[in-house]
Amino acid sequence: MTSTPLSSMLLVLFGSVVGSFGAVFLKLGAVRLTGIMSLLNWRLALGVALYLASSVFYAFGIRHGQLSVLFPMVAVGYIWTLLWARLFFHERFTRSKMLGLGLVLGGVVLVGLGS
């Protein structure tokens, strides 16, 4: 059994934070959409760029170490996004949302472990 280097974990975790901010900027850009030309606004561009950046961190992160350790850490991105949604957009945490997210998180981890 090989161990997972700390650097790989940090890369994957950092990627998940970067990706969650990508989602925040996509939301910021989305609520300002008025027409087809408004698709070219810096918030959406930054959102897409952050997503691409997060996939680069993720790709480098999973080069070494065990996927079964690293994959669940990707799922942490869902928790960051929920936090930012609450903090920046004042979205409510309802019971169905928390339960649904819990099931999704568990499912993502299991699919990762099974892969």
Binding site: A23, V24, L26, K27, L28, G29, A30, V31, R32, L33, L39, L44, V48, Y78, T81, L82, W84, A85, R86, F88, F89, H90, E91, R92, F93, T94, R95, S96, K97, L99, G100, L101, G102, L103, V104, L105, G106, G107, V108, V109, L110, V111, G112, L113, G114, S115
Partner: protein
């Protein structure tokens, strides 16, 4: 740092926060929410198809310009991924981020199913349990709280 500069920075922070918070409204209309959930769920089909096409394209990938511009699966994959992003942005316009974002996980369900049927990947109890969890979770998110 001078006092004035520090004050200026603090003011900017407040401005940034107010910009992010201002135009956002939470849509209480559950019919609209259902539409956005469906749109997002439909978008994940595109994302899954994109991932499968990219995987197909990467199997005969070579680093030459001609090989890349004639790699149809890879190009189609990127186009579908772009369409997915567009649909996601449209869903995020009205839909809550905390509701839309977890729905992206549905693409794991489609990718696992497509890999099973196309590439004859094996399924195991862990994957199946994970798929069941994701589907149940997304169903719960789509249903929302009923009074």
């Amino acid at each position: 740092m001078s006092h004035a500069r520090r004050a200026n920075r603090a003011l900017r922070k407040v401005q940034i926060l107010s910009i992010t918070a201002a135009p956002v409204s939470v849509n209480p209309n559950s019919a609209a929410r259902g539409r956005m959930v469906l749109m997002m769920a439909g978008a994940t089909l595109l994302s899954a198809a994109a991932q499968i096409l990219m995987k197909l394209g990467m199997t005969h990938f070579s680093l030459s310009l001609l090989a890349i511009v004639t790699n149809l699966p890879l190009i189609a994959g990127y186009v579908l991924y772009g369409l997915f992003t567009l649909l996601m942005v449209l869903a995020l316009r009205e839909g809550e981020l905390s509701l839309m974002y977890p729905i992206i996980s549905l693409s794991y369900v489609w990718v696992t199913a497509l890999s099973y049927f196309i590439f004859h990947d094996t399924l195991n109890p862990l994957k199946l349990a994970g798929i069941a969890g994701i589907m149940a979770g997304v169903a719960l998110l789509g249903r929302g709280d009923r009074q």
